[in-house]
Symmetry: C2
Subunit: 531 residues, 2 copies
């Protein structure tokens, strides 16, 4: 475990010195999410540490990626599962998309393995909030802010418990719940809902489906978060409404960029740091440099299905290997499973690869990816056209976004044949429009006034320094549903209009009756006179 004092690194020493002299070094509590979510958050934490802030990262003692580091103090808490349990749950989640089963069975399988993971994250949260020693330490340490991945609400609950402002950092909730929570309008007519694989230009039928999916958002939220709400109620000894806790987040650092996301309404406390994970391409390790150089004029294809997928069925692996044999490029395939027997000479299997650095190499011709947001951003940054094989979660939607922009071809990993993959690869490599489109997206994405990492660091420091960002909190949070939608006002104005109409009508009727009576009496009179 690291120490809790601020650390000095190389050239940042002067800056740190200035920060400390002016009392600007702050103390930050970090509640991260394990897995790939942690990777880009870690870069922000490291940079904040370099700038002299004292960082405490709280993590379960059994975890995948949240290791000890010279940049922060890691505070761990006990959890009731082993490292084997953990990797088994991740493995079953990662490998499930390759099960060749019927569509309903696939959906059920995906849901079950996701819930299996979600349940484990909930166990983590419960273990932390009930760990007296760690909680006492957190309560007694004066933190200036809490920095958390709010995909699951443990950090959100802790921020409330410790009464400190918080900064959220993530790609987004399933079904864009971040917009519902932050009272950001979310027009269902052109903002595609999750898992729909729609673009922002929908047909009528797609808009109907989009509307139906949007009706499921609140139940989904409840299904995922009710246990946390109960946990928070137990901790605070009062009824807790989880969306209200979420609304206390001062700044939402969202890994969005509008070359990737579709333009839509946003709120002033949302800061966009899409592409934060794309570091500048570093020099390749020697073995990779050798492979790339030996690829000749044809260049390389980079293939990874992400860290969650450890192996794929041999039949599928052989189909993929066969497709690679049909192209002249050297394929670097990150794969930890058994080597397919038909592997062609141009295909190199590796247990790990420096993905971003390989994509940054001028010889990179195509990128075969599972369309995780980190990978897609690396493809965009380095302007490498993609073959997208989405597996789970937001990956189908990510793939659709790239395809709709003409920067890649999407394949269904279960149904695709060897020829499909070969054709898709040849298309993105030899059809110039894919390269041109991804180059255009890349140019738009990289032309920014400030780097996403600096922006993220700025806003975490802002919240630490100013104890939040209350000037960015919309008054919408203080209105109930009826008030927010002005239903009371519209009802009142309608009532006034109807009343005015009613009174006018009554007056008219009264006048008419008067006139009629008069003319009636007149005619009676005249009648009687004539009699």
């Amino acid at each position: 475990m690291g120490s809790a004092v601020p650390r000095f690194h190389g050239s940042a020493v002067y800056f740190v010195f200035v920060l400390i002299c002016f009392g600007e070094a702050k103390r930050l509590l970090v509640i991260p999410q394990d897995g790939s979510h942690w990777l880009s958050m870690r870069a922000v934490v490291e940079k904040l540490s370099e700038r002299g802030h004292e960082i405490v990262v709280v993590a379960p003692e059994v975890n995948l990626l949240m290791k000890e580091s010279k940049y922060y103090t890691r505070k761990t808490f006990a959890v009731p599962y082993t490292a084997d349990d953990l990797s088994q749950r991740f493995r079953s989640f990662g490998n499930q998309p390759f099960d060749e089963v019927s569509f309903p069975a696939m959906i059920l399988g995906a849901y079950r393995s996701l819930m299996h993971l979600v349940e484990m994250f909930f166990i983590n949260c419960k273990s932390l909030l009930r760990n007296r020693e760690v909680m006492k330490y957190l309560e007694e340490t004066q933190f200036d802010a809490l920095f958390t991945d709010p995909a699951l609400p443990c950090g959100v609950i802790l921020a409330e418990h410790l009464s400190i402002p918080s900064v959220y950092f993530f790609r987004g909730f399933p079904c864009g719940l971040e917009h519902a929570i932050s009272k950001c309008p979310d027009p269902v007519s052109y903002v595609p809902r999750c898992y729909s694989s729609h673009t922002d230009h929908m047909t009528f039928a797609q808009r109907v489906l989009n509307q139906l999916i949007s009706f499921l958002e609140t139940p989904l939220f409840k299904r995922l978060y009710i246990p946390y709400q109960e946990l928070a109620s137990e901790l605070f000894q009062r009824d807790v409404h989880l969306p209200t806790l979420y609304r206390n987040g001062s700044v939402w650092l969202l890994r969005y960029d509008f070359v990737f996301e579709y333009p839509r309404p946003v709120m002033p406390n949302m800061v966009f740091i899409g592409g934060i994970n794309c570091e500048e391409g570093k020099i390749l390790p020697q073995e990779f440099e050798a492979m790339v150089n030996s690829s000749g004029e044809h260049g390389i294809v980079v293939f990874s299905l992400g860290s969650m997928v450890s192996e794929i069925p041999m039949k599928k692996a052989m189909e993929i290997a066969e497709a690679f044999g049909t192209i002249p490029q050297t394929v670097l395939w990150r794969y930890t499973g058994e080597t397919p027997p038909n592997l062609a000479k141009n295909t190199k299997l590796v247990k790990w690869l420096p993905q971003n650095d390989l994509l940054a190499h001028p010889k990179a011709r195509a990128f075969i990816t599972h369309a995780g947001s980190h990978g897609v951003y690396e493809g965009i940054c380095n302007a490498v056209p993609m073959v997208l094989m989405p597996l789970f979660g937001d990956q189908m939607d990510n793939a659709k976004r790239m395809e709709s922009r003409g920067a890649g071809v999407t394949l269904n990993v279960v149904e695709m044949t060897s020829k499909d993959l070969s054709d898709a690869l040849k298309a993105v490599i030899y059809d110039k429009k894919y390269k041109e489109n991804i180059q255009r997206l890349s140019a738009l994405h990289l032309d920014r006034p400030i780097e996403p990492l600096d922006l993220a660091v700025h806003w975490v420091e802002f919240v630490m320094k100013h104890k939040g960002a209350p000037h960015l909190r919309p008054a919408a949070h203080d209105l109930n549903w009826i008030q927010y939608h002005s239903i009371d006002v519209i009802a009142f104005l309608l009532a006034v209009v109807l009343l005015a109409l009613f009174i006018s009508l009554k007056c008219c009727l009264f006048c008419c009756r008067k006139c009629c009576c008069k003319s009636g009496r007149m005619s009676k009179k005249s009648k009687s006179k004539s009699h």
Copy 2:
């Protein structure tokens, strides 16, 4: 008139050299708005010129502030009025708020003098679009983008005519029409409408009024812009819908900052550059330095009602002068009218004052302002509490914003007495909460990841380089009103639900009837049997 070649200035030479070598120097057409609107836009134009871009500013030959400059080529066009006419119209607009007349007469007077100005701006636009020589020059010159203040739509029409992308730069339309045009949701329940002087926390009655004002927005837009629509239709020889032209704006550079504006939904192509007009305080001219230094420990009060107000009635001037006699501070009053005979010794009348530099001086204790957005931002930047005397346009709303944040006191310039002004000044100078609040706002405002001027320059260059910013254009622009609000989808789903209910009901009735008939027959049978 300046020359059309790029210019090099001091330390920027290397950067300009790089830009030219890489072919990144671009040609920008600027269609500005006269008056204070031009002041902060000019700073962006000058910086773009320093960065090697070639700039052409188109201005009427009779104008207030758009003078020749080494930073740009000024292209003028003839207008059918004289400099005297121009200053007369501005003077009558600026002095009208001091007319002591009944409320309806005041409203009518304000409307008339505003329309008098608006009419003149329309004459400008007509004169430009019908000036063959200037139009030919513009058509023959290849511009990369058009940079305009879109408060009035001449630049918007020109961008369409020349088929070039455009960047808008301004504070906002009357009644936030920029949100309606850019399809940005604008919840009437907490976004206060113009001229309402509401905050974002409204009572029920205020929300009703806000709703009623929002109903007036479209008619107001039509009243102001129909003549331009006709002018554009004449130019393009087809029916033109002005909001559609406005939607082609690639980026909206809005002089917003959320310490001043209320947080609300925004769109990704809106960039916030509030405070762009606050330069760093420069050294004061000698005469002002002397005045400030002689103020002693009490410091100074800066008083300006803006460049539009040339004189105020003597009675009012004497009331103001009397109030200044009651405070120990030295008052620097920008005033071009007749000197009030009761002017106290501590009050210095000047024809012009370096407002921002005086406010930046540590001896600045209070700022009396007409609450124009430029002045308010200077007050915020320099953390000087304000006495606000709004006169016209958005100034009432600006004053309310500052007052609601506890950073100033608002006075009605017509109704206030000498004592009111004296009390307000003493309050903002001696009641610590005003200073603390403005210091807090100032700290939030100035803690930004990039300076507003650099941000503005970045986005103009972005649009010139990428020929627009199509990735920031929401798909909402391609939907009609019914589609955008999903009314067709809701109607369809309702119809389906009703049909399903109807069929279920019919089935139930049919079953019931069957059962009843059966039981009827059964009971008949049993009856007949019993008989």
